[in-house]
Symmetry: C2
Subunit: 287 residues, 2 copies
């Protein structure tokens, strides 16, 4: 495809509460699936980029900021890694990072919208990469809420919720019933993790999410990083475990396998980032 000169490109923005973040580029696809509006652009700065319902989801040159921070603190600290569940994550990036661990035997990727997977495979093939052809991957196009309800007790070593914001199809992934089911199906030595929104742009949702997960699991803590294309650029993930806060302590023999190719994540980064709780959040979580 021939590229337009930059000055002829459009701005594609996500607008949130009087703030906008835009990338200059060409729209490649803009369609409505059964669940949401799906837009793909070719951006100058971050390569091919995906929006769902007008919100930035991922981009070729920005996806590691998000996927590494969701995946590695969980997979480096869970006692075992035989069986992994991803809810959402239809772009394949979370699955790709998980499947870098040779200990993973089976990965259920449960995405509600088949078009997100089809479009990601076609326009963002490097995000899923080898995951799409990995024999350990079990892709299920179905509702993640029903999937966790139907799953057996203590059946997963790691559960990762890789969802969009709590409106539209992801609404049911931010509430007590869903998290309770996740706790039920998590193994004793396992780790649960979810993206937990921006502490700046979705402050109350973020704090309520951390508090709720902390109440339902015995241990839970937020981790903060940077995803420039998400509202405010300041993003969070929340990790939980049943037996002890094992997500704070990466297993070093395992982390060596993955850290070499990472942009953001390292065991050093993770341990610092868990300690670096902004003052207002530390106060809120003590209430």
């Amino acid at each position: 495809m021939e590229k337009l000169p930059l000055e002829q490109c459009h701005w594609i923005d996500e607008v949130h509460d009087g703030v906008r973040y835009g990338l200059q580029g060409e729209v490649l696809i803009d369609e409505k699936s059964a669940f949401q509006k799906i837009t793909v652009i070719e951006s100058k700065r971050y390569g091919t980029s995906l929006l769902l319902d007008g919100c930035w989801m991922t981009a070729e040159k920005q996806e590691k900021h998000y996927h590494e921070c969701l995946v590695h603190p969980a997979l480096c600290s869970s006692q075992q890694l035989k069986s992994i569940l991803i809810i959402g994550g239809g772009d394949g990036g979370t699955a790709r990072e998980c499947l870098r661990y040779h200990e993973v035997e089976h990965l259920d990727l449960v995405e509600i919208d088949a078009r997100v997977v089809e479009i990601s495979k076609k326009y963002l093939p490097h995000i899923g990469g080898k995951a799409w052809t990995d024999t350990r991957l079990n892709l299920k196009i179905t509702d993640g809420i029903n999937w966790v309800k139907a799953a057996s007790d203590e059946s997963y070593d790691v559960i990762l919720v890789d969802s969009s914001d709590p409106t539209g199809p992801a609404q049911g992934l931010f509430n007590r019933d869903f998290y309770k089911e996740c706790r039920r199906i998590l193994k004793q030595g396992g780790v649960f993790a979810t993206q937990s929104e921006s502490p700046e742009s979705f402050r109350q949702i973020h704090i309520d999410t951390v508090k709720l997960i902390r109440e339902l699991f015995d241990h839970a803590d937020p981790l903060y990083g940077w995803v420039p294309m998400y509202p405010s650029g300041w993003w969070s993930w929340t990790f939980a475990a049943v037996d002890k806060p094992r997500y704070l302590h990466p297993i070093l023999s395992r982390s060596k396998e993955v850290s070499k190719n990472c942009e953001i994540w390292s065991t050093n980064w993770q341990q610092g980032a868990f300690a670096a709780i902004p003052a207002f959040i530390e106060r809120e979580l003590k209430l």
Copy 2:
């Protein structure tokens, strides 16, 4: 002033390399000073906000993200706090945070552009707050480069460079000659700190700045945080010291005085944040 309904407000954007960050609001002032274009808007989301040469500088409801991270790691760890120098910082926020320490006896605030100070006092009075009438403040409207050249050896306990990006009037604040002068005028037990750009949007400038400061001072380390209105939202500050990396270790008796009113900064946050070096930066700094 009567406020326009949001739908009648304009978007005011900073554009950088195919990315834009915009706030919806009304333009209050837009003028050219002797040094730069100065714009003030009333934004819906972050209150009154300042741009210099089209780049976001600060906003009433976002300034603590920046000022706390520049000031407190330095002032909480310098051996003494008698004499402080701020280069830039014409909005007064850095001075305000410094003057919260009763140990500070004298603070030179050296800003090149008188209009930035005048406009900040008028439109953003809460950012400078009580600093503007504090008898310890010595406001000098002059070139910071000449100021440091003329200063005596080892004359400041803390030096803070609170500048805009390295183009326009701030260009001379990001080079070897300037940092060498800063090292010369810093006391033995003192701390130097500068904003050091975004590791995402200005990656090479950031890394070069950290390496240069590390070469000239005996100890230097970057710290990462979040300023949503700056390019990528991911921002950095670099701290340096001559005798030991004392900026890593806040003096707890002193930090108690300031931590109560902070949004982001706390001793816990600081110690975690210094440890949380993203993997690609850790690799670059080892080269």
